[in-house]
Symmetry: C2
Subunit: 324 residues, 2 copies
């Protein structure tokens, strides 16, 4: 019977939101996107998302009874026990929004699960992506920021107050560069997309980095991680050097995770997907310098496996067919 | 009925071993110690420990039926799934010793549980010490080395290959001082007992540190963490400065743990017990610098609560009355 069931996924992000329909085993059936209006009231945005969801249900001839549940993925901080979005930095108007209660009213008798986006993606990678078959997994987003999700002994680990997994805000360099979070020397300040761009810009002294500068249209301020990765792929030494430095910091951060959590898989998002071995190779080298060989036995660092579908599947993965 | 039951604890260490009898709720009934003969065969040592155990059982009129189980605590690495001691650095002759099988033969029909000493002490502190009532706890030994044990969601977390909790071997300073493990800049190289002594010795330039030098009998090489703590308690500025520096490194390491695991309690062993606020105060200051205020809400750093009985209770705590 569960085979005919469907899961509704709701992804709430700073630039876009999406509603998706999927199967309990991770097949994406359909999706609909909506640009996030940062100035709109959360109630208005949720109303729009409900309407999109209803339209998708009608289109696919699905009743509420055929829904196994609704998974909602959103930036933290949030309270999973009450299903409340607290105040994500990328959604300034969203403060203490009881999203679970709101959606439960909109979809009577349907279970609603709220989880932060990094945790949700970790669950999706674990159930259907690069983490299939492993019990102890750490996932890092590696995008604009570095979020993380941790699966331990085959279960999402949330911590005492839903704040576990902030692996991007461990300190890698005492007195290092300032991080978006206000601390200094965080992994995020040294190995996120913006950090790659910053390190590249800072390397442009004495006329170095002409290829990279040209790729960014001649303006150093316009250099992004994407330019650095593109140039590195074409063999640009400066860009490769930047990815090497970033990989070293990242490897050190992962080594700390390995020493503390002894995981089987470390799964890396965006940057690793785009840069591939240009980043993963220095990461592995630093890992073997900063973590014990014995702890690294049976632990692999890999790029995320779900690609483009990751965000939709993240929301969908929160509704576990087994626990329904 | 379980109220009349007893637990046998076996603690195997590099300098001494101990057999203890305790109640399932953490009362120590009796104990017997044995100096560890490093040159003896493991089989001989285990034989001696069995004889001591038998004598204790006879003395207290206990039958094998009255035993809930035997808990064995020993330095890692070990394999908890097979009950095998692999090759602890402090017991060079112990290599692949199937201690559980040996003790199960000696005590027929009695359950034997093997766990590494840091994990075992974490369990004891959680069940009966400074961690009572909390679900997410990190314990650090802070002695000759820095071992660790992690309780997550009310369960000991061992990792993929029994190597989780090595919080002492996260990297605090890239290219920092060499650690006993061979890596550089580990927390253990900066905040263990020997690290306190080393930092103190290195501070003795230009005639500084006369009080500390006098406490160690005039020889810098004889300075130990104990001397530093004693002098700091008497107000010696140099010794207080050393504890301050060590507390900062330790606070940074704990901050990383807070960001990754979001625990409710961090429990610190030996050094923190002896130095008290002289160490804990700089630790807390560094924590608030290197961890998020939100993550620190509801998280306290405290000294271990079991004191002298910790090692015996560690072995005893492994046999859980509830799971028998």
């Amino acid at each position: 019977m569960a085979a005919n069931k469907r899961v509704l996924g709701v992804d709430i992000g700073g630039t876009k939101c999406a509603v998706s329909i999927g199967t309990p085993d991770g097949q994406l059936v359909d999706r609909e996107e909506l640009g996030t209006d940062q100035s709109a009231e959360p109630a208005k945005v949720l109303d729009d998302l409900q309407r999109i969801a209803s339209a998708l249900l009608v289109k696919h001839k699905l009743t509420l009874e055929s829904l196994l549940g609704v998974g909602v993925s959103c930036g933290g901080p949030l309270d999973t026990s009450t299903g409340t979005i607290l105040r994500p930095p990328n959604l300034p108007r969203w403060e203490a929004v009881p999203v679970r209660a709101i959606l439960e009213e909109a979809f009577p008798d349907v279970r609603v699960v709220l989880e932060n986006d990094a945790n949700a993606t970790a669950v999706a990678e674990w159930r259907w992506g690069a983490g299939v078959g492993f019990q102890n997994i750490v996932y890092l987003t590696l995008g604009t920021g570095i979020g993380g999700g941790i699966i331990l002994d085959g279960k999402l680990y949330r911590g005492h107050s839903d704040l576990a997994g902030e692996v991007g805000h461990q300190t890698i360099l005492m007195n290092g560069p300032i991080c978006g979070c206000g601390k200094r020397g965080c992994l995020e300040a040294l190995a996120s997309g913006p950090a790659v761009a910053r390190l590249a810009r800072e390397s442009l002294n004495y006329g170095r980095g002409r290829a990279l500068l040209a790729a960014a249209g001649g303006r150093a301020a316009d250099i992004t991680a994407k330019h650095v990765i593109e140039c590195a792929k074409r063999g640009d030494a400066l860009s490769m050097g930047v990815l090497n430095e970033v990989g070293t910091y990242l490897g050190l951060g992962l080594a700390n995770i390995v020493q503390i959590l002894n995981p089987q898989r470390i799964i890396l998002g965006t940057l690793a997907i785009h840069a591939g071995e240009l980043l993963l190779s220095p990461v592995r080298e630093a890992l073997s310098e900063y973590a014990w060989a014995r702890s690294l036995e049976g632990c692999k660092v890999v790029a995320a496996g779900l690609g483009e579908r990751a965000q939709d599947l993240a929301a969908i993965s929160l509704v576990d067919a087994d626990s329904a």
